[in-house]
C-alpha cells in the first residue's frame, strides 16, 4: 500500500495533481478577497455615476444645495464639510491621549498593568458603535446641555448677545458632541499602531540614550519617538479613516441638519450619517444614486488614507531594520 502511494501513477496523481488542485483552489478563493475589494469600488462607482455625470465630479462635491424634494439638486459639500470637521476635530482631540496610552503601555507601565491597558484599548475598538451612540444620546448629550451648552448660551445672552447665533440651539446634539464621542472611539486605532511602533524600537537605542545620562522622558524624546514616528503617523491616518466612516454613533448625536454647518455647537451631518438617514426613505432614483455617489467619495478618501498608512508603515519597517 505504501508502494502504491509513493511510486507509480497513483503517486503522481496524488502528489503532483493533488498539490496543483489544492493550490489552484486556495488561489481561486483567495483571489475572491481581491475581487471583493474591486467589486466594491466598481459597484459604488457604477451606482453613483449618474449624479456625478449630471453635476460634475467636483460640482457634486462642492455643491452646497442638497434638496431631494423640490429642486432635485444634489451637492455634497455640507456633508463633506461636516465629515471633515468632525473627523479632524476628533483626531486632534484624541491624538495625544492615544499617544500617551501607547507610551504608558509600552514603556512605563508594569507588565500586568500594560496588559490590562492593552485589553481595554482592544475593548474600546470592539464596543459597537450603536452602544456609544446610545450613551451619547442619553448620557453625554444631556450632560453637555446642562453643563456646557446652556451655561454658555445664558452667559452669552447676558454679556455678548452677538455671539448667540454661533452657539446654535443649546440642545446638546451637534458637531461638538459628535467630535467628543468620535474622539473616544478612535483612540485605540492610533494607540495600537503607536504601541507596536514603540515596542519595535531596538533596545540598544534606549540603552545608548540612558548611557548618555538621559532621563526617562529624554530617552522617549531622543531615542524612541523619532524611530517610531512612522507607526504613530500611520495610526493617526487609520484613526482618521475610522472617524470618516463612523456612522451610527455620529448619526445619533450630530443633530442631522441639511444646511452647511457654520458653528461647532450647531447640528450638522456627515456623509455616512446622511446615507444612513436617507437611504431607506429615498424615493427618486437620482436621490438614491446621489447617496451611493456620496459612498463612492467616502470610499476614495478611505482608500487613500489606508494606502498612505500602509506606505508609511512599510517605510517605518525598513527604517527600523536599517538601524538594527
Amino acid at each position: 500500500m505504501t508502494r502504491s502511494l509513493t511510486r507509480g501513477p497513483t503517486s503522481f496523481m496524488y502528489r503532483m495533481l493533488g498539490d496543483r488542485f489544492f493550490a489552484a483552489f486556495v488561489v481561486l478563493l483567495a483571489s475572491g478577497v481581491v475581487a471583493l475589494a474591486l467589486l466594491m469600488a466598481w459597484e459604488l462607482y457604477q451606482g453613483g455615476s449618474e449624479p456625478i455625470r449630471r453635476f460634475g465630479f467636483f460640482g457634486f462635491l462642492t455643491g452646497t444645495e442638497w434638496d431631494p424634494v423640490i429642486a432635485k439638486q444634489f451637492g455634497a459639500w455640507p456633508y463633506v464639510a461636516g465629515t471633515l470637521v468632525t473627523s479632524l476635530g476628533a483626531l486632534a482631540l484624541s491624538f495625544f491621549p492615544a499617544l500617551a496610552a501607547a507610551i504608558y503601555a509600552a514603556e512605563y507601565a508594569p507588565r500586568w498593568l500594560a496588559s490590562i491597558i492593552n485589553y481595554l484599548l482592544d475593548l474600546t475598538a470592539a464596543v459597537p458603535s450603536v452602544v456609544y451612540g446610545l450613551w451619547g444620546i442619553f448620557v453625554m448629550a444631556p450632560w453637555l446641555r446642562e453643563h456646557l451648552y446652556l451655561p454658555a448660551y445664558l452667559l452669552a445672552a447676558e454679556k455678548v448677545p452677538g455671539l448667540l447665533p454661533f452657539l446654535g440651539n443649546p440642545t446638546g446634539y451637534g458637531m461638538l458632541t459628535a467630535i467628543l464621542i468620535l474622539a473616544a472611539m478612535i483612540v485605540p486605532f492610533t494607540a495600537a499602531l503607536a504601541r507596536d511602533a514603540i515596542s519595535l524600537v531596538p533596545q540598544a537605542q534606549r540603552e545608548a540614550a540612558y548611557a548618555l545620562g538621559a532621563t526617562r522622558w529624554e530617552v522617549m524624546l531622543l531615542a524612541i519617538l523619532p524611530l517610531s514616528k512612522g507607526g504613530i503617523i500611520a495610526g493617526a491616518f487609520l484613526a482618521l479613516g475610522r472617524a470618516l466612516g463612523e456612522t451610527m454613533a455620529v448619526t445619533m448625536v450630530i443633530g442631522n441638519s441639511h444646511k452647511l454647518p457654520y458653528t461647532l455647537f450647531g447640528p450638522a451631518a456627515t456623509m455616512p450619517s446622511v446615507i444612513a438617514n436617507e437611504f431607506t426613505e429615498a424615493v427618486e432614483q437620482i436621490h438614491l444614486d446621489s447617496l451611493i455617489a456620496l459612498g463612492f467619495y467616502l470610499f476614495l478618501v478611505a482608500l487613500v488614507l489606508n494606502l498612505l498608512a500602509g506606505w508609511v508603515i512599510r517605510r517605518q519597517m525598513q527604517l527600523t531594520k536599517g538601524v538594527l
Binding site: 483567495a30 450603536v130 451612540g133 489606508n306
Partner: protein, 280 residues
C-alpha cells in the same frame, strides 16, 4: 544649550511628563469606563427573562422582549460567517503557506483596504448587489454585508495563527513523504484550529455589533422571522431604532440590548485571549 537646564529641572520635567502621560492614558480610556458603567447599570435594571423569550411589543405597550432581534442577529451573522469563512481561510492559508505566490501582495493589500473601509459602504454594496436585483430587503443581503466585514478579519487572523505553527511540524510531514496539500490539511490546520476558531469568533463579534450595513439590507422586522429572503431584525439595528424613538419603555430596552451586545463582545474577546494563550 542644555547647560542652562540643571539636573533638577530635567528630573522635574521627567516627572511632569510621566504625570501627563498617565493622565492622558486615563483620558483615553475614560469614555470606555463611562459607557461600560452606564450600560451595566441601566442595562441590568432593564434586563429580564422576557427580554430573551418574548418578541417586541408595539409602541406604547410596555413589556415584551427582543427575542426576534436576538435570533435574527444570530441568523444574519451566521450567514455572514458561512460566506466569509471559505474566502478568509483560503486567503490566510495562501498568505502563510505560499509566501512566494505573486497573489500575496494584492491579497494582503486588499484585505487591509477592505478592513479599513467604512462598514456602511459594505451595506451599500450589498444593497446594489442583492437587494436591488431581488427587489426587497432580506436577511440574506444583511449576511452578505456582514460577510464583507468578516473576510479581512478572518484572513489576517488565520494568517497570524498559521505563522505561529512551528516549522518543524511542516518539515516532519514533508519528511514523511506527505505532499504539501496534505501537510496543510492534516497537520498545519488542525494544529492551528483553536486559533482559527478564535479569529472567526472575533469576526463574528465584530459583525454582530454592526448596525450601519444592516440599515438597508436586512432592514428589521417586529416579528420573529427565520426566512432569509425576508427582512430580519437584528439587535444593533433595533437598539438604534429604540434609542431614537420617543418611548420611555423602548429606551429601557435599548439599554438592555446595549448590555447584551456589550457582554457578547467582552465574552468573545476574553474567550479569544484564553484560547490563544492556551494553544501555541
Amino acid at each position: 544649550m542644555n547647560r542652562g537646564l540643571r539636573l533638577r529641572q530635567r528630573y522635574l520635567r521627567d516627572r511632569v511628563m510621566l504625570g501627563l502621560v498617565a493622565v492622558g492614558t486615563v483620558l483615553a480610556l475614560l469614555v470606555l469606563f463611562l459607557v461600560m458603567g452606564y450600560a451595566l447599570v441601566n442595562g441590568l435594571s432593564a434586563l429580564n427573562w422576557d427580554f430573551f423569550v418574548r418578541d417586541m411589543k408595539p409602541p406604547g405597550e410596555t413589556g415584551g422582549g427582543l427575542r426576534q432581534a436576538i435570533v435574527g442577529t444570530l441568523l444574519v451573522d451566521g450567514v455572514g460567517v458561512l460566506i466569509a469563512l471559505p474566502f478568509g481561510i483560503a486567503a490566510g492559508v495562501l498568505l502563510s503557506e505560499y509566501p512566494d505566490h505573486p497573489l500575496n501582495v494584492p491579497v494582503r493589500l486588499m484585505a487591509d483596504t477592505l478592513n479599513g473601509m467604512p462598514a456602511i459602504l459594505k451595506g451599500l454594496v450589498a444593497f446594489v448587489l442583492i437587494v436591488k436585483p431581488m427587489g426587497g430587503f432580506s436577511g440574506l443581503s444583511g449576511g452578505v454585508a456582514l460577510g464583507f466585514i468578516m473576510v479581512p478579519i478572518i484572513t489576517r487572523a488565520t494568517e497570524g495563527v498559521l505563522s505561529l505553527v512551528p516549522r518543524e511540524i511542516r518539515e516532519a510531514g514533508l519528511a514523511l513523504g506527505l505532499p504539501r496539500w496534505q501537510v496543510i490539511l492534516a497537520l498545519v490546520l488542525p494544529v492551528a484550529r483553536a486559533g482559527i476558531v478564535t479569529g472567526v469568533l472575533l469576526a463574528f463579534a465584530r459583525a454582530a455589533g454592526e448596525a450601519a450595513p444592516l440599515l438597508f439590507t436586512s432592514f428589521g422586522s417586529p416579528f420573529l422571522e427565520t426566512n432569509l429572503l425576508k427582512p430580519i431584525d437584528t439587535l444593533p439595528l433595533r437598539l438604534f431604532q429604540f434609542a431614537i424613538s420617543p418611548y420611555e419603555d423602548w429606551h429601557r430596552q435599548a439599554w438592555a440590548a446595549g448590555l447584551v451586545l456589550f457582554a457578547m463582545i467582552v465574552l468573545t474577546s476574553l474567550l479569544a485571549r484564553w484560547a490563544t494563550r492556551r494553544r501555541l
